[in-house]
């Protein structure tokens, strides 16, 4: 339970970064913290904590998206679950390359899902789609995920391979 609460608090901080820091400090709106944080949580912790962070940050982002509803909570939770599924069944090792692949997949899913939501609401593509923005978001998320993974791996044993405990069956911890 304590882990979930901390994850929720992390979600609040990540959402505050996306809303009130990225728009002022960075040229591209894709320079956020959400995807790198989710990648590190998926790789180093339980999926429930990543989902808690995703859900809380998605709720807050939805509350502050006044111009066009972005259905953030729905999209973010969806691509978090998708990334966890891919990590669990295909990218089974914990390495910087896995972090990069997850970051790429989540960024592409985020961009495409957001564009899909905007298109369904009739927002012109010229207002919402930018190849430069997509490129910047990919580069930023790849860099931050790789850097974060390297930092955490060098300072902790979080990403060390451990023998799973067969007595633990619950995924939510």
């Amino acid at each position: 339970m304590r882990g979930l609460i901390l994850s929720a608090c992390l979600g609040v901080l990540v959402a505050a970064w996306e809303i009130a820091v990225t728009p002022f400090l960075f040229v591209s709106h894709g320079a956020g913290m959400l995807i790198p944080v989710l990648v590190l949580l998926l790789m180093g912790s339980r999926v429930s904590r990543a989902l808690a962070t995703a859900a809380v940050s998605g709720v807050i982002l939805d509350c502050y998206a006044l111009s066009v509803p972005g259905f953030y909570v729905f999209r973010i939770c969806l691509f978090t679950i998708g990334a966890w599924f891919i990590f669990k069944h295909w990218l089974t090792n914990r390495s910087v390359y896995t972090a990069v692949v997850l970051a790429v997949l989540m960024t592409i899913t985020d961009v495409l899902s957001r564009q899909g939501v905007y298109s369904l609401q009739g927002v012109p593509t010229a207002y919402t789609w930018s190849w430069q923005g997509v490129g910047m978001a990919l580069l930023w998320n790849i860099f931050l995920s790789a850097f974060g993974f390297t930092l955490v791996a060098s300072l902790t044993k979080r990403f060390s391979v451990t023998i799973p405990d067969p007595s633990r069956t619950s995924w939510y911890g």
């Binding site: 809303i19 009130a20 002022f24 509350c63 259905f71």
Partner: protein, 261 residues
């Protein structure tokens, strides 16, 4: 993950989507905004201060070089001096205007912004509980018109600047205060004055003001100056490029004009 959990989460997601679409979760949204408002404000203040401390942006460097070039110029543009005198008169009248016009200004801070693909939307920390309504005019502390309220919730509202591609503002000349056209946003800080009658003798550096014909936008608010007039006298309508009086991408504090209560 067990299939039962997958099914339950999928069902939960569909239910959440339904609640989002129908707007049933609006009270939850108000509560979340109330809870997170202080954190968002503090983060926005810190980001702005860090940006200002870190130095000027490339765009500001270009503006600074252009201004230095103008200052270094030996000849004073008579029309620009007249435009500045008109602006000064208008801004001085602004103070008296707000007292006499039945409008009052509600101070608001920019806590977030959306600058993408030429669009400029700013999130302000005032909402419907402060008397903010959609369509109300927004001005800077110096009294310069910057845009209108696009959307409003209880504690926050969205400002759409007049250079946004969807923005339309009825404009008049500061001299004579005749309506001269409709200003359409062109994105990336640019605007175009359209439907100018050929009989209007607009020229570079003429000061433009709001016409006051829109319901919640008072007149005589300075907006920008003419940069270039396009078209021939035989054309049915002329157009003119408009240069904003303030750097719209760097506004931090604004006033929302609401009817005096």
């Amino acid at each position: 993950m067990k299939p039962r959990w997958i099914f339950m989460m999928s069902a939960g997601a569909c239910l959440l989507l339904l609640l989002l679409i129908t707007g049933i979760l609006k009270p939850l949204g108000q509560g979340v905004r109330w809870l997170t408002h202080p954190l968002i404000e503090v983060s926005a203040d810190a980001s702005r201060n860090l940006r200002d401390f870190a130095g000027r942006s490339q765009a500001s460097e270009a503006v600074l070089r252009e201004l230095e070039t103008r200052i270094a110029s030996q000849t004073i543009d008579h029309a620009r001096l007249r435009a500045l005198e008109d602006e000064n008169k208008t801004l001085r009248a602004q103070l008296k205007f707000l007292e006499d016009s039945g409008y009052e200004g509600v101070g608001a801070k920019v806590i977030s912004r959306e600058l993408q693909n030429g669009r400029m939307h700013f999130l302000l920390d005032r909402g419907t509980k402060d008397g903010v309504e959609v369509g109300q005019a927004v001005i800077t502390s110096a009294g310069v018109f910057v845009g209108k309220i696009l959307n409003a919730r209880e504690r926050v509202s969205m400002l759409e600047v007049f250079t946004d591609p969807d923005a339309r503002t009825v404009i008049a000349r500061s001299e004579g205060q005749r309506i001269v056209g409709v200003m359409e946003g062109r994105g990336n800080g640019a605007a175009l004055l359209t439907y100018i009658p050929p009989s209007e003798s607009l020229k570079k550096d003429d000061l433009l003001i709001t016409a006051g014909t829109e319901e919640k936008v008072p007149g005589q608010l300075p907006v920008g100056i003419i940069n270039r007039v396009n078209g021939k006298p035989t054309d049915p309508f002329l157009t003119a490029a408009v240069e904003p009086l303030v750097g719209l991408d760097r506004i931090s504090f604004v006033s929302i004009l609401r009817p005096r209560q």
